[in-house]
Symmetry: none
Subunit: 153 residues, 2 copies
DNA sequence: CATATACCCATTGACGCCCATATAATCCCA
DNA sequence: TGGGATTATATGGGCGTCAATGGGTATATG
């Protein structure tokens, strides 16, 4: 499986280390399996992360925005200037930078949420609450969620 | 046969393992025959499952949504973070995650119901009851059922 | 020199792999 | 075509490996 899926809650130890879930590590290309990038989510108080390869994809997405719009500057500033690369140790752990932990209110535990081509890191309670709210919003339009899950190609 | 059909009731052993019915295993592509995805059914207290190929389809569809829209986040959160991949061992068994067992009230036995391109896993009694109710609902609209069953292509 | 970070080692529990058996389905040949 | 032989499926259990976690120590960096 080459997608970030499922959710995991891992502990942050005294040294600030936390294990990147094993299934997430396996999504990273074998070449750069010891490095990920992290940045503040634009829309939620969470951290987003992915392999370094995904940077190009993000750049493309932002490039597709209207160059002269306010959004363009806002997104490129918010994302690119805030990106932090982190190393993963031999045991599969990494350090969440203090600034990002503050942004996401993360203290002793980190909840990892698969998002397909990237993942999010939440303070566990906030993350679960966010999942519920997302689902509630979507269920208001049952048809679209069903379609997404059951449609045949 | 490349569809999930028929129903089976299998036991869950001490370790939590349960056999995926052989005919279901044969529906999975030989390439990814050792992995399936599971998620909570939207409309019923049951688990739905299918091969990983379907997940990639879903990923593609979500990826085509506007990256910066709220829908994008809602879909990827509700789907990717809720999906769980499980491995199938050499004997054709897999583990049903605790959270999903709770959701479906599954304890010692699991009932598998073929649903064509996917399948459902139920607590046996609930599953059979659901089948009856489904059929009863259909019979109330005999006309449409007749049409469905007798129509020639 | 002080703090932060990487590396190494250890522990625990969960999971995957292997082997075994009983029942059911299929085959195969006289 | 009957019936024994072979294969497949569902199920049980032992055991090694890996993931998550904790901690000691070396190293780097300012």
């Amino acid at each position: 499986m080459d997608l970030f899926v499922s959710k995991y809650i891992n502990k942050i130890d005294k040294k600030g280390r936390v294990s990147l879930p094993s299934s997430f590590r396996n999504v990273l290309p074998k070449a750069n399996r010891n490095e990920i990038i992290l940045y503040k989510s634009i829309k939620t108080p969470s951290i987003e992360g992915c392999g370094v390869g995904r940077l190009k994809e993000i750049a493309k997405r932002i490039n597709n925005l209207d160059f002269f719009s306010e959004d363009y500057d806002d997104f490129s500033t918010s994302i690119f200037s805030e990106i932090i690369t982190t190393n993963i140790d031999k045991e599969g752990r990494f350090l969440i930078p203090e600034e990002l932990k503050l942004y996401a209110s993360i203290k002793s535990e980190a909840a990892f949420f698969g998002q397909g081509h990237y993942f999010q890191i939440w303070e566990p309670k906030k993350g679960l609450k966010n999942t519920e709210e997302s689902r509630r919003r979507l269920l208001k339009e049952k048809k679209s969620l069903r379609m997404m899950l059951t449609q045949q190609k």
